[in-house]
Amino acid sequence: MESLMMILIGVLVAVATYLVLSRKILRVIIGTAVLSHAVHLLILTVGGLKKGDVPLLSQSDGPYTDALPQALILTAIVISFAVTAFVLVLAYRMYKTNDADDFSELGGSSDE
Protein backbone atom coordinates (compact mmCIF):
# COMPACT_ATOMS: atom_id res chain seq x y z
CA MET A 1 0.00 0.00 0.00
CA GLU A 2 2.81 2.41 0.92
CA SER A 3 4.55 1.76 -2.41
CA LEU A 4 1.32 2.50 -4.30
CA MET A 5 0.91 5.72 -2.37
CA MET A 6 4.48 6.75 -3.12
CA ILE A 7 3.93 6.13 -6.85
CA LEU A 8 0.75 8.22 -6.71
CA ILE A 9 2.60 11.04 -4.94
CA GLY A 10 5.35 10.85 -7.55
CA VAL A 11 2.83 11.12 -10.38
CA LEU A 12 1.12 14.09 -8.70
CA VAL A 13 4.43 15.88 -8.18
CA ALA A 14 5.41 15.22 -11.80
CA VAL A 15 2.11 16.61 -13.09
CA ALA A 16 2.34 19.61 -10.78
CA THR A 17 5.93 20.34 -11.82
CA TYR A 18 4.87 20.28 -15.47
CA LEU A 19 2.05 22.71 -14.73
CA VAL A 20 4.17 25.04 -12.59
CA LEU A 21 6.80 25.28 -15.30
CA SER A 22 4.30 26.39 -17.93
CA ARG A 23 3.89 30.05 -18.85
CA LYS A 24 0.16 30.52 -18.32
CA ILE A 25 -0.58 31.92 -14.88
CA LEU A 26 -3.71 29.85 -14.34
CA ARG A 27 -1.85 26.63 -15.03
CA VAL A 28 0.85 27.60 -12.56
CA ILE A 29 -1.78 28.20 -9.87
CA ILE A 30 -3.45 24.86 -10.55
CA GLY A 31 0.02 23.33 -10.41
CA THR A 32 0.60 24.68 -6.90
CA ALA A 33 -2.78 23.28 -5.80
CA VAL A 34 -1.80 19.82 -7.11
CA LEU A 35 1.58 20.16 -5.39
CA SER A 36 -0.15 20.72 -2.06
CA HIS A 37 -2.31 17.61 -2.57
CA ALA A 38 0.84 15.60 -3.21
CA VAL A 39 2.44 16.77 0.02
CA HIS A 40 -0.71 16.01 2.01
CA LEU A 41 -0.60 12.43 0.79
CA LEU A 42 3.11 12.35 1.60
CA ILE A 43 2.47 13.38 5.22
CA LEU A 44 -0.22 10.69 5.49
CA THR A 45 2.09 8.03 4.08
CA VAL A 46 5.25 8.77 6.06
CA GLY A 47 3.18 8.91 9.25
CA GLY A 48 2.24 5.25 8.61
CA LEU A 49 -0.97 4.16 6.94
CA LYS A 50 -3.75 2.59 9.02
CA LYS A 51 -2.06 0.15 11.34
CA GLY A 52 -4.49 -0.14 14.24
CA ASP A 53 -7.79 1.06 15.65
CA VAL A 54 -9.16 4.55 16.12
CA PRO A 55 -7.16 6.38 18.77
CA LEU A 56 -9.99 6.60 21.35
CA LEU A 57 -9.37 5.02 24.74
CA SER A 58 -12.91 3.73 25.28
CA GLN A 59 -13.23 2.23 21.82
CA SER A 60 -10.42 -0.32 21.83
CA ASP A 61 -7.31 -1.51 23.65
CA GLY A 62 -4.89 -0.65 20.86
CA PRO A 63 -2.67 -0.68 18.96
CA TYR A 64 -3.83 2.71 17.80
CA THR A 65 -3.36 4.51 14.53
CA ASP A 66 -1.30 7.70 14.68
CA ALA A 67 -3.79 10.58 14.60
CA LEU A 68 -1.28 13.38 14.26
CA PRO A 69 -0.80 13.28 10.44
CA GLN A 70 -4.53 13.95 9.98
CA ALA A 71 -4.28 17.02 12.19
CA LEU A 72 -1.26 18.27 10.26
CA ILE A 73 -2.95 17.68 6.91
CA LEU A 74 -6.12 19.46 8.03
CA THR A 75 -4.07 22.52 8.98
CA ALA A 76 -2.10 22.37 5.75
CA ILE A 77 -5.29 22.06 3.68
CA VAL A 78 -6.79 25.14 5.32
CA ILE A 79 -3.63 27.14 4.67
CA SER A 80 -3.30 26.01 1.06
CA PHE A 81 -6.99 26.77 0.53
CA ALA A 82 -6.51 30.32 1.80
CA VAL A 83 -3.38 30.91 -0.24
CA THR A 84 -4.92 29.48 -3.43
CA ALA A 85 -8.01 31.66 -3.00
CA PHE A 86 -5.83 34.72 -2.49
CA VAL A 87 -3.56 33.99 -5.43
CA LEU A 88 -6.55 33.44 -7.76
CA VAL A 89 -7.94 36.86 -6.85
CA LEU A 90 -4.50 38.41 -7.23
CA ALA A 91 -4.04 36.82 -10.65
CA TYR A 92 -7.45 38.10 -11.73
CA ARG A 93 -6.66 41.65 -10.59
CA MET A 94 -3.31 41.46 -12.31
CA TYR A 95 -4.97 40.31 -15.52
CA LYS A 96 -7.35 43.27 -15.33
CA THR A 97 -4.65 45.90 -14.68
CA ASN A 98 -1.67 44.57 -16.61
CA ASP A 99 -3.69 42.82 -19.32
CA ALA A 100 -1.40 39.79 -19.17
CA ASP A 101 -2.06 36.17 -18.29
CA ASP A 102 1.32 34.90 -19.34
CA PHE A 103 4.57 35.03 -17.38
CA SER A 104 6.62 35.90 -20.43
CA GLU A 105 4.86 39.30 -20.46
CA LEU A 106 5.72 40.05 -16.84
CA GLY A 107 9.46 40.64 -17.06
CA GLY A 108 9.18 44.36 -16.36
CA SER A 109 11.32 46.96 -18.02
CA SER A 110 14.54 48.50 -16.79
CA ASP A 111 13.27 52.08 -16.76
CA GLU A 112 10.84 51.67 -13.85
Binding site: V20, I25, V28, I29, T32, L35, S36, V39, L42, I43, V46, G47, L68, P69, L72, T75, A76, I79, A82, V83, F86, V87, L90, A91, R93, M94, T97, N98, L106, G108, E112
Partner: protein
Protein backbone atom coordinates in the same frame (compact mmCIF):
# COMPACT_ATOMS: atom_id res chain seq x y z
CA UNK B 1 2.56 33.92 34.92
CA UNK B 2 3.78 31.80 32.01
CA UNK B 3 0.58 32.65 30.19
CA UNK B 4 1.94 36.03 29.17
CA UNK B 5 4.32 34.33 26.71
CA UNK B 6 1.44 34.06 24.27
CA UNK B 7 0.56 37.77 24.44
CA UNK B 8 3.08 39.04 21.82
CA UNK B 9 1.29 36.88 19.26
CA UNK B 10 -2.32 36.86 20.41
CA UNK B 11 -2.80 40.55 21.25
CA UNK B 12 -1.95 41.82 17.73
CA UNK B 13 -4.29 39.20 16.22
CA UNK B 14 -7.22 40.18 18.45
CA UNK B 15 -6.75 43.90 17.91
CA UNK B 16 -6.31 43.35 14.17
CA UNK B 17 -9.70 41.63 14.05
CA UNK B 18 -11.16 44.46 16.10
CA UNK B 19 -9.70 47.06 13.72
CA UNK B 20 -11.41 45.45 10.74
CA UNK B 21 -14.71 46.60 12.25
CA UNK B 22 -13.38 50.14 12.79
CA UNK B 23 -12.71 50.71 9.11
CA UNK B 24 -14.07 54.26 8.96
CA UNK B 25 -12.46 55.50 12.17
CA UNK B 26 -8.93 56.08 10.95
CA UNK B 27 -7.72 58.10 13.94
CA UNK B 28 -8.95 55.39 16.30
CA UNK B 29 -7.25 52.71 14.19
CA UNK B 30 -3.95 54.57 14.46
CA UNK B 31 -4.20 54.98 18.22
CA UNK B 32 -5.22 51.37 18.85
CA UNK B 33 -2.52 49.90 16.62
CA UNK B 34 0.22 51.99 18.22
CA UNK B 35 -1.06 51.17 21.71
CA UNK B 36 -1.05 47.48 20.83
CA UNK B 37 2.58 47.61 19.79
CA UNK B 38 3.43 49.58 22.94
CA UNK B 39 1.75 46.89 25.04
CA UNK B 40 3.64 44.11 23.22
CA UNK B 41 6.94 45.93 23.74
CA UNK B 42 6.19 46.27 27.46
CA UNK B 43 5.24 42.60 27.87
CA UNK B 44 8.31 41.43 25.97
CA UNK B 45 10.64 43.61 28.03
CA UNK B 46 9.06 42.17 31.19
CA UNK B 47 9.49 38.62 29.86
CA UNK B 48 13.12 39.29 28.97
CA UNK B 49 13.75 40.36 32.57
CA UNK B 50 11.97 37.25 33.90
CA UNK B 51 13.93 34.90 31.61
CA UNK B 52 17.16 36.59 32.64
CA UNK B 53 16.51 35.90 36.32
CA UNK B 54 14.54 32.65 36.19
CA UNK B 55 15.72 30.77 33.09
CA UNK B 56 13.82 29.76 29.96
CA UNK B 57 10.03 29.93 30.23
CA UNK B 58 7.52 27.79 28.38
CA UNK B 59 3.78 27.55 27.97
CA UNK B 60 2.13 24.21 27.15
CA UNK B 61 -1.16 24.97 25.45
CA UNK B 62 -4.20 23.29 27.09
CA UNK B 63 -1.88 21.60 29.57
CA UNK B 64 -0.69 18.99 27.05
CA UNK B 65 2.76 18.21 28.34
CA UNK B 66 5.61 18.12 25.84
CA UNK B 67 6.25 16.34 23.56
CA UNK B 68 2.50 15.84 22.91
CA UNK B 69 1.13 19.35 22.67
CA UNK B 70 2.03 22.58 20.96
CA UNK B 71 4.05 24.96 23.08
CA UNK B 72 5.61 28.40 23.15
CA UNK B 73 9.16 28.69 24.47
CA UNK B 74 10.62 32.03 25.52
CA UNK B 75 14.40 32.04 25.63
CA UNK B 76 16.61 35.12 25.40
CA UNK B 77 17.29 34.73 21.65
CA UNK B 78 13.60 34.60 20.77
CA UNK B 79 12.65 37.43 23.14
CA UNK B 80 15.42 39.77 21.95
CA UNK B 81 14.12 39.36 18.41
CA UNK B 82 10.46 39.77 19.43
CA UNK B 83 11.39 42.98 21.25
CA UNK B 84 13.37 44.34 18.30
CA UNK B 85 10.64 43.43 15.81
CA UNK B 86 7.93 45.05 17.93
CA UNK B 87 9.90 48.29 18.44
CA UNK B 88 10.57 48.52 14.69
CA UNK B 89 6.92 47.88 13.87
CA UNK B 90 5.85 50.63 16.26
CA UNK B 91 8.27 53.09 14.66
CA UNK B 92 7.25 52.09 11.12
CA UNK B 93 3.62 52.64 12.17
CA UNK B 94 4.52 56.19 13.24
CA UNK B 95 6.09 56.75 9.83
CA UNK B 96 3.05 55.23 8.14
CA UNK B 97 0.65 57.61 9.97
CA UNK B 98 2.21 60.51 8.10
CA UNK B 99 2.86 58.96 4.71
CA UNK B 100 0.74 55.94 3.87
CA UNK B 101 -2.35 57.86 2.75
CA UNK B 102 -6.01 57.47 3.49
CA UNK B 103 -6.62 55.01 0.67
CA UNK B 104 -4.35 52.44 2.29
CA UNK B 105 -5.66 53.17 5.77
CA UNK B 106 -9.22 52.49 4.68
CA UNK B 107 -8.19 49.27 2.99
CA UNK B 108 -7.17 47.61 6.28
CA UNK B 109 -3.49 48.58 6.25
CA UNK B 110 -3.17 48.56 10.06
CA UNK B 111 -4.87 45.17 10.60
CA UNK B 112 -2.50 43.57 8.10
CA UNK B 113 0.58 45.10 9.74
CA UNK B 114 -0.65 43.66 13.04
CA UNK B 115 -1.23 40.24 11.45
CA UNK B 116 2.29 40.43 10.05
CA UNK B 117 3.85 41.16 13.43
CA UNK B 118 1.70 38.43 15.04
CA UNK B 119 3.12 35.91 12.57
CA UNK B 120 6.65 37.19 13.10
CA UNK B 121 6.39 37.06 16.90
CA UNK B 122 4.75 33.64 16.76
CA UNK B 123 7.57 32.30 14.59
CA UNK B 124 10.14 33.52 17.09
CA UNK B 125 8.35 32.11 20.14
CA UNK B 126 7.04 28.74 19.04
CA UNK B 127 8.70 25.54 20.20
CA UNK B 128 6.97 23.26 17.72
CA UNK B 129 8.19 22.94 14.17
CA UNK B 130 4.73 22.54 12.61
CA UNK B 131 3.56 25.57 14.53
CA UNK B 132 6.55 27.39 13.05
CA UNK B 133 5.15 26.55 9.61
CA UNK B 134 1.73 27.90 10.58
CA UNK B 135 3.21 31.15 11.98
CA UNK B 136 5.29 31.52 8.81
CA UNK B 137 2.10 31.26 6.78
CA UNK B 138 0.30 33.86 8.93
CA UNK B 139 3.21 36.21 8.35
CA UNK B 140 3.45 35.43 4.64
CA UNK B 141 -0.27 35.85 3.95
CA UNK B 142 -0.17 39.29 5.58
CA UNK B 143 2.94 40.13 3.55
CA UNK B 144 1.27 39.01 0.28
CA UNK B 145 -1.53 41.47 0.97
CA UNK B 146 0.84 44.28 1.95
CA UNK B 147 2.88 43.86 -1.26
CA UNK B 148 -0.22 44.00 -3.43
CA UNK B 149 -2.13 46.66 -1.44
CA UNK B 150 -2.41 49.76 -3.58
CA UNK B 151 -3.02 47.79 -6.75
CA UNK B 152 -0.51 49.48 -9.05
CA UNK B 153 0.66 47.65 -12.14
CA UNK B 154 4.18 46.95 -10.83
CA UNK B 155 2.90 45.95 -7.41
CA UNK B 156 0.48 43.35 -8.73
CA UNK B 157 3.08 41.96 -11.09
CA UNK B 158 5.76 41.58 -8.41
CA UNK B 159 3.23 40.38 -5.83
CA UNK B 160 2.22 37.47 -8.05
CA UNK B 161 5.83 36.34 -8.44
CA UNK B 162 6.46 36.80 -4.73
CA UNK B 163 3.40 34.75 -3.77
CA UNK B 164 4.15 31.89 -6.16
CA UNK B 165 7.78 31.60 -5.06
CA UNK B 166 6.70 31.51 -1.44
CA UNK B 167 3.98 28.94 -2.14
CA UNK B 168 6.58 26.61 -3.63
CA UNK B 169 8.93 27.30 -0.69
CA UNK B 170 6.15 26.50 1.79
CA UNK B 171 5.50 23.30 -0.12
CA UNK B 172 9.12 22.32 0.37
CA UNK B 173 8.79 23.16 4.06
CA UNK B 174 5.92 20.66 4.29
CA UNK B 175 7.92 18.00 2.41
CA UNK B 176 10.81 18.47 4.84
CA UNK B 177 8.36 18.29 7.77
CA UNK B 178 6.82 15.08 6.43
CA UNK B 179 10.20 13.35 6.13
CA UNK B 180 11.25 14.65 9.53
CA UNK B 181 8.07 13.31 11.11
CA UNK B 182 8.50 10.01 9.30
CA UNK B 183 12.05 9.68 10.65
CA UNK B 184 11.86 10.92 14.24
CA UNK B 185 8.07 10.70 14.90
CA UNK B 186 7.87 13.99 16.78
CA UNK B 187 7.40 17.68 16.01
CA UNK B 188 8.47 19.33 19.26
CA UNK B 189 11.80 21.02 18.48
CA UNK B 190 13.45 20.07 21.76
CA UNK B 191 12.21 16.48 21.43
CA UNK B 192 13.49 16.35 17.84
CA UNK B 193 16.87 17.50 19.11
CA UNK B 194 16.85 14.74 21.73
CA UNK B 195 15.81 12.05 19.24
CA UNK B 196 18.39 13.20 16.68
CA UNK B 197 21.07 13.04 19.38
CA UNK B 198 19.97 9.51 20.31
CA UNK B 199 19.75 8.21 16.75
CA UNK B 200 22.88 10.02 15.57
CA UNK B 201 22.56 12.25 12.54
CA UNK B 202 22.45 9.62 9.82
CA UNK B 203 22.37 10.47 6.08
CA UNK B 204 18.53 10.61 6.00
CA UNK B 205 18.43 13.22 8.75
CA UNK B 206 21.22 15.19 7.11
CA UNK B 207 19.22 15.19 3.86
CA UNK B 208 16.15 16.41 5.76
CA UNK B 209 18.27 19.14 7.36
CA UNK B 210 19.51 20.22 3.91
CA UNK B 211 15.86 20.41 2.77
CA UNK B 212 15.16 22.72 5.72
CA UNK B 213 18.25 24.71 4.77
CA UNK B 214 16.90 25.24 1.23
CA UNK B 215 13.48 26.29 2.54
CA UNK B 216 14.80 28.77 5.10
CA UNK B 217 17.47 30.02 2.70
CA UNK B 218 14.66 30.93 0.28
CA UNK B 219 12.79 32.77 3.03
CA UNK B 220 15.92 34.48 4.37
CA UNK B 221 17.34 35.43 0.99
CA UNK B 222 20.48 33.37 1.62
CA UNK B 223 21.88 32.74 -1.89
CA UNK B 224 18.33 32.06 -3.18
CA UNK B 225 17.51 35.77 -3.18
CA UNK B 226 16.48 36.20 -6.83
CA UNK B 227 12.93 37.17 -5.76
CA UNK B 228 14.01 39.76 -3.19
CA UNK B 229 15.04 42.91 -5.12
CA UNK B 230 11.84 42.88 -7.21
CA UNK B 231 9.28 42.40 -4.48
CA UNK B 232 11.01 44.62 -1.88
CA UNK B 233 11.09 47.69 -4.10
CA UNK B 234 7.41 47.93 -5.12
CA UNK B 235 5.30 48.45 -1.94
CA UNK B 236 4.97 51.79 -0.07
CA UNK B 237 8.00 52.90 1.96
CA UNK B 238 6.69 51.94 5.40
CA UNK B 239 5.96 48.41 4.14
CA UNK B 240 9.37 48.16 2.48
CA UNK B 241 11.04 49.06 5.75
CA UNK B 242 8.99 46.47 7.65
CA UNK B 243 9.84 43.77 5.11
CA UNK B 244 13.54 44.62 5.02
CA UNK B 245 13.71 44.64 8.81
CA UNK B 246 11.54 41.63 9.65
CA UNK B 247 10.78 39.09 6.95
CA UNK B 248 14.21 37.86 5.94
CA UNK B 249 15.29 37.93 9.59
CA UNK B 250 12.62 35.37 10.50
CA UNK B 251 14.25 33.03 7.98
CA UNK B 252 17.62 33.72 9.59
CA UNK B 253 16.14 32.95 13.02
CA UNK B 254 14.73 29.66 11.70
CA UNK B 255 18.16 28.74 10.27
CA UNK B 256 19.78 29.39 13.65
CA UNK B 257 17.20 27.29 15.51
CA UNK B 258 17.41 24.44 13.02
CA UNK B 259 21.17 24.17 12.90
CA UNK B 260 22.03 24.88 16.54
CA UNK B 261 19.19 23.01 18.22
CA UNK B 262 17.85 20.28 15.96
CA UNK B 263 20.67 19.30 13.60
CA UNK B 264 23.95 20.35 15.22
CA UNK B 265 25.76 17.05 14.80
CA UNK B 266 26.83 16.75 11.19
CA UNK B 267 28.63 20.10 11.04
CA UNK B 268 31.20 19.17 8.43
CA UNK B 269 28.37 18.90 5.88
CA UNK B 270 25.68 21.35 6.99
CA UNK B 271 27.85 24.17 8.32
CA UNK B 272 30.16 23.89 5.32
CA UNK B 273 27.17 24.31 2.99
CA UNK B 274 25.92 27.27 5.06
CA UNK B 275 29.40 28.82 4.96
CA UNK B 276 29.65 28.46 1.18
CA UNK B 277 26.15 29.88 0.73
CA UNK B 278 26.94 32.81 3.04
CA UNK B 279 30.13 33.59 1.12
CA UNK B 280 28.41 33.46 -2.27
CA UNK B 281 25.55 35.59 -0.94
CA UNK B 282 27.99 38.27 0.16
CA UNK B 283 29.78 38.26 -3.21
CA UNK B 284 26.54 38.40 -5.21
CA UNK B 285 25.06 41.05 -2.92
CA UNK B 286 28.17 43.22 -3.30
CA UNK B 287 28.01 42.93 -7.09
CA UNK B 288 24.36 43.99 -7.03
CA UNK B 289 25.03 46.92 -4.70
CA UNK B 290 27.95 48.12 -6.84
CA UNK B 291 26.08 47.75 -10.12
CA UNK B 292 22.84 49.35 -8.90
CA UNK B 293 21.97 52.72 -10.40
CA UNK B 294 18.82 53.44 -8.45
CA UNK B 295 18.68 53.91 -4.69
CA UNK B 296 16.15 51.14 -4.08
CA UNK B 297 18.27 48.50 -5.81
CA UNK B 298 21.31 49.52 -3.80
CA UNK B 299 19.31 49.29 -0.55
CA UNK B 300 17.83 45.86 -1.34
CA UNK B 301 21.24 44.41 -2.20
CA UNK B 302 22.49 45.77 1.11
CA UNK B 303 19.86 43.57 2.81
CA UNK B 304 21.30 40.56 0.99
CA UNK B 305 24.90 41.36 2.00
CA UNK B 306 23.81 41.59 5.64
CA UNK B 307 22.08 38.18 5.50
CA UNK B 308 25.30 36.59 4.26
CA UNK B 309 27.28 38.39 6.93
CA UNK B 310 25.01 37.29 9.79
CA UNK B 311 25.21 33.68 8.68
CA UNK B 312 29.00 33.71 8.86
CA UNK B 313 28.40 33.62 12.62
CA UNK B 314 26.32 30.45 12.26
CA UNK B 315 28.83 28.85 9.90
CA UNK B 316 31.65 29.31 12.42
CA UNK B 317 29.69 27.36 15.03
CA UNK B 318 31.36 29.13 17.96
CA UNK B 319 29.68 30.87 20.88
CA UNK B 320 31.46 34.16 20.08
CA UNK B 321 30.21 33.88 16.50
CA UNK B 322 26.64 33.33 17.70
CA UNK B 323 26.84 36.33 20.04
CA UNK B 324 28.16 38.43 17.15
CA UNK B 325 25.34 37.25 14.90
CA UNK B 326 22.69 38.17 17.47
CA UNK B 327 24.21 41.62 17.98
CA UNK B 328 24.43 42.13 14.24
CA UNK B 329 20.92 40.77 13.65
CA UNK B 330 19.40 43.28 16.07
CA UNK B 331 21.54 46.10 14.68
CA UNK B 332 20.70 45.19 11.11
CA UNK B 333 16.95 45.13 11.78
CA UNK B 334 17.09 48.72 13.08
CA UNK B 335 19.55 49.93 10.46
CA UNK B 336 17.73 48.40 7.48
CA UNK B 337 14.39 49.78 8.65
CA UNK B 338 15.94 53.24 8.88
CA UNK B 339 17.79 52.90 5.55
CA UNK B 340 14.60 51.92 3.71
CA UNK B 341 12.59 54.71 5.34
CA UNK B 342 15.26 57.25 4.33
CA UNK B 343 15.58 55.93 0.79
CA UNK B 344 11.80 55.91 0.37
CA UNK B 345 11.61 59.49 1.63
CA UNK B 346 14.36 60.55 -0.79
CA UNK B 347 12.33 59.13 -3.66
CA UNK B 348 9.24 60.93 -2.35
CA UNK B 349 11.06 64.27 -1.99
CA UNK B 350 12.78 64.32 -5.36
CA UNK B 351 10.51 62.16 -7.47
CA UNK B 352 13.60 60.38 -8.78
CA UNK B 353 15.05 56.95 -8.14
CA UNK B 354 18.38 57.23 -9.99
CA UNK B 355 21.25 58.25 -7.69
CA UNK B 356 22.84 60.67 -10.15
CA UNK B 357 19.65 62.65 -10.74
CA UNK B 358 19.37 63.72 -7.10
CA UNK B 359 21.66 66.35 -5.67
CA UNK B 360 22.20 68.58 -2.67
CA UNK B 361 19.51 67.13 -0.42
CA UNK B 362 21.52 67.98 2.71
CA UNK B 363 21.14 71.71 1.94
CA UNK B 364 17.36 71.45 1.91
CA UNK B 365 17.03 68.92 4.72
CA UNK B 366 20.06 69.08 7.04
CA UNK B 367 18.83 66.77 9.81
CA UNK B 368 17.63 64.22 7.23
CA UNK B 369 21.09 64.22 5.66
CA UNK B 370 22.86 63.74 8.99
CA UNK B 371 20.61 60.82 9.91
CA UNK B 372 21.54 59.20 6.60
CA UNK B 373 25.19 59.74 7.55
CA UNK B 374 24.60 57.97 10.90
CA UNK B 375 22.93 54.94 9.32
CA UNK B 376 25.73 54.72 6.75
CA UNK B 377 28.39 54.72 9.48
CA UNK B 378 26.41 52.15 11.49
CA UNK B 379 26.07 49.81 8.52
CA UNK B 380 29.75 50.11 7.70
CA UNK B 381 30.54 49.18 11.31
CA UNK B 382 32.18 52.37 12.50
CA UNK B 383 32.41 52.58 16.33
CA UNK B 384 30.71 53.62 18.56
CA UNK B 385 27.60 52.87 16.46
CA UNK B 386 25.77 49.57 16.69
CA UNK B 387 27.30 47.70 13.74
CA UNK B 388 30.79 47.67 15.19
CA UNK B 389 30.41 45.25 18.08
CA UNK B 390 28.55 42.68 15.94
CA UNK B 391 31.20 42.79 13.23
CA UNK B 392 33.96 42.49 15.82
CA UNK B 393 32.41 39.44 17.49
CA UNK B 394 31.61 37.69 14.19
CA UNK B 395 35.21 38.32 13.17
CA UNK B 396 36.48 36.82 16.43
CA UNK B 397 34.18 33.83 15.96
CA UNK B 398 35.47 33.29 12.43
CA UNK B 399 39.06 33.32 13.70
CA UNK B 400 38.20 30.85 16.50
CA UNK B 401 36.48 28.60 13.97
CA UNK B 402 39.35 29.10 11.47
CA UNK B 403 37.04 30.25 8.66
CA UNK B 404 39.53 32.72 7.23
CA UNK B 405 37.97 32.93 3.77
CA UNK B 406 34.62 33.93 5.28
CA UNK B 407 36.38 36.40 7.57
CA UNK B 408 38.06 38.09 4.62
CA UNK B 409 34.83 38.14 2.59
CA UNK B 410 32.85 39.54 5.51
CA UNK B 411 35.19 42.43 6.18
CA UNK B 412 35.70 43.15 2.49
CA UNK B 413 31.91 43.42 2.21
CA UNK B 414 31.94 46.20 4.86
CA UNK B 415 34.00 48.31 2.48
CA UNK B 416 31.60 47.63 -0.39
CA UNK B 417 28.63 48.52 1.84
CA UNK B 418 30.37 51.76 2.80
CA UNK B 419 31.21 52.51 -0.84
CA UNK B 420 27.70 51.85 -2.15
CA UNK B 421 26.11 54.04 0.53
CA UNK B 422 28.80 56.72 0.27
CA UNK B 423 28.02 56.99 -3.43
CA UNK B 424 24.45 57.92 -2.55
CA UNK B 425 25.71 60.40 0.07
CA UNK B 426 28.12 62.12 -2.32
CA UNK B 427 25.83 62.22 -5.33
CA UNK B 428 22.45 62.85 -3.74
CA UNK B 429 23.13 64.72 -0.52
CA UNK B 430 26.18 66.84 -1.40
CA UNK B 431 26.60 69.09 -4.38
CA UNK B 432 24.40 71.81 -5.83
CA UNK B 433 20.81 71.60 -4.73
CA UNK B 434 18.27 70.95 -7.47
CA UNK B 435 15.23 71.83 -5.37
CA UNK B 436 14.49 75.51 -5.00
CA UNK B 437 13.14 76.69 -1.65
CA UNK B 438 9.72 77.39 -3.12
CA UNK B 439 9.29 73.88 -4.45
CA UNK B 440 10.71 72.20 -1.40
CA UNK B 441 8.31 69.55 -0.08
CA UNK B 442 8.32 69.44 3.72
CA UNK B 443 9.16 66.19 5.48
CA UNK B 444 6.20 65.33 7.75
CA UNK B 445 6.95 65.77 11.46
CA UNK B 446 5.92 62.22 12.31
CA UNK B 447 8.26 60.84 9.65
CA UNK B 448 11.09 62.88 11.09
CA UNK B 449 10.20 61.50 14.55
CA UNK B 450 10.42 57.96 13.18
CA UNK B 451 13.88 58.62 11.68
CA UNK B 452 15.13 60.20 14.89
CA UNK B 453 13.83 57.32 17.03
CA UNK B 454 15.52 54.72 14.83
CA UNK B 455 18.78 56.69 14.73
CA UNK B 456 18.59 56.97 18.50
CA UNK B 457 18.15 53.19 18.76
CA UNK B 458 21.29 52.71 16.61
CA UNK B 459 23.32 55.03 18.84
CA UNK B 460 21.99 53.55 22.10
CA UNK B 461 22.64 50.02 20.83
CA UNK B 462 26.21 50.95 20.01
CA UNK B 463 27.13 53.13 22.98
CA UNK B 464 25.21 51.02 25.48
CA UNK B 465 26.44 47.67 24.12
CA UNK B 466 27.73 46.83 27.60
CA UNK B 467 24.22 47.07 29.06
CA UNK B 468 22.79 44.63 26.51
CA UNK B 469 25.69 42.20 26.80
CA UNK B 470 24.14 39.95 29.53
CA UNK B 471 21.04 39.29 27.38
CA UNK B 472 23.04 38.59 24.24
CA UNK B 473 25.51 36.36 26.10
CA UNK B 474 22.65 34.38 27.60
CA UNK B 475 21.08 33.93 24.16
CA UNK B 476 24.39 32.86 22.63
CA UNK B 477 25.03 30.42 25.49
CA UNK B 478 21.67 28.73 24.87
CA UNK B 479 22.44 28.49 21.15
CA UNK B 480 25.90 27.06 21.74
CA UNK B 481 24.66 24.55 24.31
CA UNK B 482 21.23 23.27 23.18
CA UNK B 483 20.92 21.01 26.23
CA UNK B 484 19.83 24.07 28.26
CA UNK B 485 16.88 24.56 25.90
CA UNK B 486 16.03 20.84 25.79
CA UNK B 487 16.21 20.58 29.58
CA UNK B 488 13.92 23.59 30.01
CA UNK B 489 11.31 22.22 27.60
CA UNK B 490 11.30 18.52 28.43
CA UNK B 491 12.53 18.67 32.03
CA UNK B 492 9.09 18.49 33.69
CA UNK B 493 7.79 15.54 31.75
CA UNK B 494 10.45 13.07 32.85
Amino acid sequence: MNNIIVLPMIVPIITAILLVFLRDFIKLQRIISLMTMGFVIGVTALLLGLVQSGGIMKLDFSGWLPPYGILFVADSFALILVLTASIITAICLIYAFATIGERHERMFFYPFVLFLIAGVNGSFLTGDIFNLFVCFEVMLLASYVLVALGGEKVQLREALKYVLINVVASWMFLVALAFLYGTVKTLNMAHIAQRVAELGQDPILTTVSILFLIVFALKAGLLLFFWLPGSYSVPPTAVQALFAALLTKVGVYALFRTFTLMFPLNQEVTHLVIGIMAGLTIIAGCMGALAGKDVRTIATYNVIIAIGFILIGLATGTETGFAGSIYYLVHDMFAKALLFLLIGTMVYLTGEVIVKRMSGLIRNYPLFGWIYFIVMCALAGIPPLSGFIGKLLIGQGAIEGENFVLLALGFASSIIVLYSLLRILLASFFGETTISEDHQKPIPKLAMTAFSLLALCLIVLGVGAEAFAPFIEDAAKTLADPSIYIEAVLGNSE
